[in-house]
Amino acid sequence: MSGAESQPKHGLSRAATRKRKRLYIVLAGMTMLGIAVALVLTAFQDNIVFFYTPSDLAEKQVGPEQRVRLGGLVEDGSVRKIDDGVTTQFVITDYIDTVDVSYTGILPDLFREGQGVIAEGRMLPDGSLQATEVLAKHDENYMPKEVAEKIKESGRWQEDGSGG
């Protein structure tokens, strides 16, 4: 309110009060909106996740014939081609639980052992997954091949357990 000497004090303070009031309304509105959205997103948590991990699946007791999306890492040494030449069997793991997966079709280029993948399909009565679609995840690290090899040689390579 400094520098208001030349102007009628009441008029200026009223204008300033209106501005302050609008500022509070905007701040309060944004806060309430933020809380509302946070509550909605928390309530729909289960529907927003794109896939379940093998341990989620064990926890949720998903029955046979139910469609699920399962994400995790392809377990090392688990990939096998069946004799028909187009069916692949592998194990998806999150280092806590594992699920056997069988998929008939063409796998994405990035599919390999140790890679994060998402398999979508039907649960079979034996607890394995009959996948109709397999997607590959890639992680957040970007580097040239030579750098990746050097890191692997030095033994500092870390696989991300989240499958990401």
Partner: protein, 240 residues
């Protein structure tokens, strides 16, 4: 300071002076970024040459969110302090932001097909960016729906603020939920997870896109101010 530049005429005098510099630097930075990104940067150890889509995709996604944030701040200033210029900045920015969002979705789709094995999935990151695109479109439709643009300013500003809730959701979607999209690579707690040889072209592209936004923004702002003057003149003619 803020009030000094809230005067459109004074603001445009400064803006017009920096416009040629911004435009020239845009060309330089984008040329350097594209050359470094497409010819001089290495292929990725996992993704091979496909990684070069990143040099368009990531800066576009950053601009899509940056421009929306700028729009939301301008809208808040227009609502609270009634700066006519703040309203015009929000209005002028929207189509540019919508274009960057569209480029993000398009390049992401083209990248997802070879790498993930799908053009599109409804995971939290992809869906929240699609919502951002729809909010942009809704905002543009709303500001153009009124015969007297001054009447549309307030509802449009409120819509821009409501849509701003989506920004943290987009940024943290990959951390809060399981998604097909990988977690953040550039802005993370542990620093960038991109090799310097790839980070440099990315930085050039991001600066180039920012300068592009400023250049096109000034041009669009010029149009907004001219349109407002024409409206005032017409009002003067009919009422005077």
């Amino acid at each position: 300071m803020m009030h000094r530049f809230a005067n459109p005429t004074r603001f445009m005098r400064v803006a017009n002076a920096i416009l040629p510099w911004c435009a020239g630097l845009t060309v330089l930075f984008l040329a350097a970024g594209l050359y470094l990104g497409l010819f001089r940067s290495p292929a990725d150890y996992q993704q091979g040459e496909t990684v070069r889509i990143m040099y368009i995709h990531v800066p576009s996604a950053y601009m899509a969110m940056f421009i929306y944030a700028a729009m939301a701040v301008s809208s808040a200033m227009a609502l609270i302090w009634k700066h006519p210029l703040a309203d015009m900045i929000a209005r002028a920015s929207a189509p540019i932001g919508a274009c960057f969002t569209f480029v993000t979705l398009l390049t992401g789709s083209l990248w997802g097909q070879p790498m993930w094995g799908t053009w599109w999935v409804w995971d939290a990151r992809l869906t929240s960016v699609l919502i951002l695109f729809f909010v942009y479109i809704g905002y543009i439709a709303l500001v153009n729906a009124f015969d007297d643009p001054a009447r549309g300013a307030k509802p449009a500003a409120i819509l821009a603020l409501v849509g701003a809730v989506n920004l943290p959701i987009i940024k943290f979607s990959v951390d809060w939920w399981n998604t097909l999209h990988q977690p953040a690579s550039v802005v993370t707690m542990e620093g960038p997870k991109i090799d310097p040889a790839m980070l440099w072209p990315l930085a050039f592209m991001a600066v180039g896109f920012n300068l592009y936004y400023i250049s096109v923004g000034i041009l669009r702002l010029r149009g907004e101010i001219a349109a407002a003057r024409i409206r005032n003149l017409q009002l003067g003619l009919t009422h005077g």
